[in-house]
Symmetry: C2
Subunit: 187 residues, 2 copies
């Protein structure tokens, strides 16, 4: 489902009374549309050291592989949202373990909350937003065909703590991991 | 700054094409207003084992004590947002240490991201949204006059890990901590 583009509507940019930032204000009715950062919830899901990935049936990045993840809904906990997304995209019943990473993707104003999760049985199939869903051994992950840099970050950061019961969650990748992840988007 | 109430506008509740949830749709212009969960960023800020708290100058919970925290803005990292909020509310230059907690406050669709942070010098003062700002020893924290349950959670969870360099961040309080925190709202 695509988000409507404010530019398609009769919105003006202005600073409402009592505010200190420009906002979209509807020229017809005065509604103030606060552009709030969006929350994406998802997970690195494993089954017997294999990784559950979904090939996207929708844009952006249709045809590329991603983690089960999507927008948090109203009145939903972040963990429940990650469980729901795995069910919607992969018909998979996952069990959340713990918080793997918290990413700020500032150019698109997204906060991504990524969990570590497990499948108890290798039961899954493509939901409506996926072309296919598969379990990959680490060596066979389609690195050349990942959808987003944060998929690359989450998978690599997972490998750093896969034997840990407790760890401090990761933030945005930096250095070599960041550079390599950006190569994804050139494809 | 208060968020406009959708009920004050010519919005209808309906399910847009291609969606599976009811949304607010503007009856005048067709704009689809997605009610997305909001992100609050804040921190437990300490200076020499004392805790920085702000007394709220605005509703809700005007006059009660809170942590420096507020809504994440567009194009901002969660850590930068927490730094900005401490500066806006307490004129304090804080240094973020690590992620303390991730709360889902589902009845108001908020995700609260709380950091552990430090003040290098005890320099602060009330910003426009605060009546006063003070450093409290743990024993002197105004427990009877805290603004929100999550302030109670964050302070108590902080105490559990104050001597740790690395820890897994906390989620919503449960059990006795949750019950005690709800007593706050009876005042
Ligand atoms: Zn309107
Ligand atoms: Zn309108």
């Amino acid at each position: 489902m695509s988000t409507p583009n404010p530019d398609d509507y009769a919105f003006e940019r202005k600073i409402p009374d009592g505010d200190n930032m420009e906002r979209h204000v509807c020229a017809d009715c005065g509604w103030i549309h606060y552009d709030n950062p969006k929350i994406v919830v998802g997970s690195v899901v494993t089954f017997e050291e294999k990784f559950l990935l979904c090939r996207r049936a929708i844009n952006p990045r249709k045809g590329y592989w991603t983690l089960p993840a999507g927008y948090l809904e109203q009145n939903e906990t972040t963990a429940d949202g990650a469980v729901r997304e795995a069910f919607e995209e992969a018909n998979a019943n996952i069990r959340i373990r713990d918080l793997l990473a918290l990413y700020s993707v500032t150019h698109i104003s997204q906060v991504q909350i990524m969990y570590r999760a497990e499948l108890d049985r290798p039961e899954f199939s493509a939901g409506p937003e996926s072309l296919e869903v598969r379990l990959f051994e680490w060596e066979n992950i389609p690195w050349e065909d990942l959808a987003f840099p944060t998929v690359y970050w989450a998978l690599h950061q997972y490998m750093q703590i896969k034997d840990e019961d407790y760890f401090a969650p990761f933030a945005n990748a930096s250095g070599e991991m960041l550079e390599k992840s950006y190569q994804i988007l050139r494809r």
